[in-house]
């Protein structure tokens, strides 16, 4: 009988031929629109806060907090995952994506209890971002110190 293992070398090529391809251009355009829209909304909040007399730095910080709050609420109401499905990285990269990663984990693992479930699993997806973000900031700080 013909042995399936004889196809091992050419198998990756066979799989590639039959696998549907991602539409990179359309996906990039969608990511640009969604990411751009989220950032524009953030800028809108900053302008509103400034208009009501907040200092620029404070307004920017409060806008960030507002976006995080909105993302958490949208995740809780099963809306943000649809934005992510449409916008891909455009929804994942802004701070709203980070909030979604934490809130979705909290929702999913709450059933295993507040300590071993939600507490332990809260950073399942967001954890690496914090770890490597902190390391990168240390490296940047050292470079900044000497330059």
């Amino acid at each position: 009988m013909a042995n399936i293992k004889q196809l091992k070398n050419e198998y990756p090529q066979i799989v590639k031929e039959h696998s549907p391809k991602n539409k990179v251009m359309i996906n990039s355009a969608k990511a640009f629109l969604v990411g751009g829209a989220i950032c524009t909304i953030g800028q809108g909040f900053t302008e509103i806060y400034k208009y009501y007399g907040m200092a620029k730095d404070d307004a920017q910080m409060v806008s960030t907090v507002t976006l995080i709050l909105l993302s958490a609420i949208f995740t809780g109401f099963n809306i943000y995952d649809n934005i992510g499905k449409f916008g891909g990285a455009g929804a994942a990269i802004p701070i709203t994506g980070f909030a979604n990663a934490m809130v979705s984990s909290a929702m999913e693992f709450k059933k295993e209890g507040y300590v071993y479930g939600m507490g332990a699993k809260l950073f399942t997806i967001a954890g690496p971002v914090i770890v490597f973000g902190a390391i990168a900031s240390v490296v940047a700080g050292i470079i900044f110190y000497f330059v």
Binding site: M1, A2, I4, K5, L7, K8, Y11, P12, I14, V15, E17, H18, S19, P20, K21, N22, T75, G76, N78, Y80, D81, I83, G84, K85, G88, A91, A92, G97, N100, A101, V103, S104, S105, M107, E108, F109, K111, T124, I125
Partner: protein, 335 residues
């Protein structure tokens, strides 16, 4: 008869599948096969608090449904072979514990319908029992949580990804009675052609499916055209195409008889499932719901069912391991 060729068992006294019962979640019930499922669920949580508990209730309802349909009591069933995708096959444990039927818990990933039917029919045909139950289940949300991401995480699914079915199928396998007969089984080997992409399970499992199909055909000295249909478990659209292609390269033309439960269960365009369905419950419910009824109506008289499984854990793929596949063939005839 008995052990035939390299890895096939042909039964002298073929066991009979006297009854079958299927349950399907809301999305599966809205699919092209929706009307064929015996128990069509409206609520993905089945009134429970967690996905894991929901899957246990799904199993419980399916087994109770099968007992009712066959007019049997739990004590009439001598042994039970079942498994699911949850860690330590825990959905089956909690779904089945109140029935008090001697239980073999199986893990064959999504090939569990094939594995359970193989073992149950061997037990019956070997004269060890008269009436045995076999089946499996899967739950989309429980599987996503365990193998991928939290449900509300805003990630994008790749185009090769398949949709794990919320579904369950159980069958009764009897020494005598009316119904389609299991004339032979070919347990599959673990086949690994080096696929590492856990978002393309069809590609990981296709070589195992082809290996088992070819072994069955050779051991029983048959051609693909001897079957009305050769139906794999959950290779999905991409995996099915790959399977037909590699079988062709090995000199066997499956294109005219090949189909796949994962291709049948959803309308990928309108239901946005990408590459078809997957999960133990996919082949379980499509066989118990759709194919079994086609056999009873004699629309199909002889099929080869090959549930396919991808053998991996989240840890094994993260550690850089490949994803081996396994597939078990069950040859079913309706006189």
């Amino acid at each position: 008869m008995g052990h035939t060729g390299k890895q096939t068992i042909v039964f002298k006294n073929p066991p009979v599948i006297t009854c079958a019962y299927s349950s399907a979640g809301p999305k599966e019930s809205a699919g092209p096969l929706g009307d064929y499922f015996d128990n069509q669920l409206q609520d993905e949580l089945l009134g429970q608090e967690t996905w894991e508990k929901a899957e246990s209730i799904l199993i419980k309802q399916t087994v109770q449904g099968l007992l009712n349909k066959a007019d049997k009591r739990p004590e009439d069933i001598q042994y039970l072979f079942a498994g699911d995708l949850q860690n330590q096959v825990i959905a089956s444990t909690f779904g089945l514990k109140d029935f008090n039927i001697p239980f073999f818990g199986l893990y064959g990933a999504c090939s569990t319908m094939g594995e359970s039917m193989c073992l149950a029919s061997i037990m019956v045909a070997g004269g060890m029992a008269d009436l045995v139950m076999a089946g499996t289940s899967s739950h989309n949300c429980a599987a996503e949580k365990q193998f991928r991401f939290p449900l509300e995480y805003a990630g994008q699914r790749t185009l090769t990804q398949q949709w794990t079915a919320t579904a369950s199928g159980f069958v009764l396998i009897s020494r005598c009675g009316k119904g389609p007969k299991i004339e032979a089984v070919t347990p599959g080997k673990i086949v690994d052609l080096g696929i590492k992409d856990s978002f393309n399970m069809g590609a990981a499992m296709a070589p195992a499916a082809v290996d088992t199909i070819l072994a069955h055909l050779e051991d029983t000295n048959q051609k693909p055209s001897d079957f009305d249909a050769i139906i794999t478990g959950d290779l999905g659209n991409c995996g099915s195409d790959i399977a037909v292609d590699i079988a062709n390269k090995l000199g066997v033309d499956l294109s005219k008889v090949m189909n796949d439960c994962g291709k049948l269960i959803y309308d990928d365009e309108s239901q946005d499932t990408h590459c078809g369905g997957s999960g133990c419950g996919c082949s379980g419910s499509v066989f118990a719901g759709y194919l079994y009824k086609q056999l009873l109506k004699r629309n199909l008289k002889k099929i080869l069912l090959i549930p396919t499984g991808a053998l991996m854990s989240p840890g094994s793929t993260q550690q850089g391991n490949t994803i081996p596949g396994v597939a078990h063939a069950v040859s079913i005839v309706m006189d």
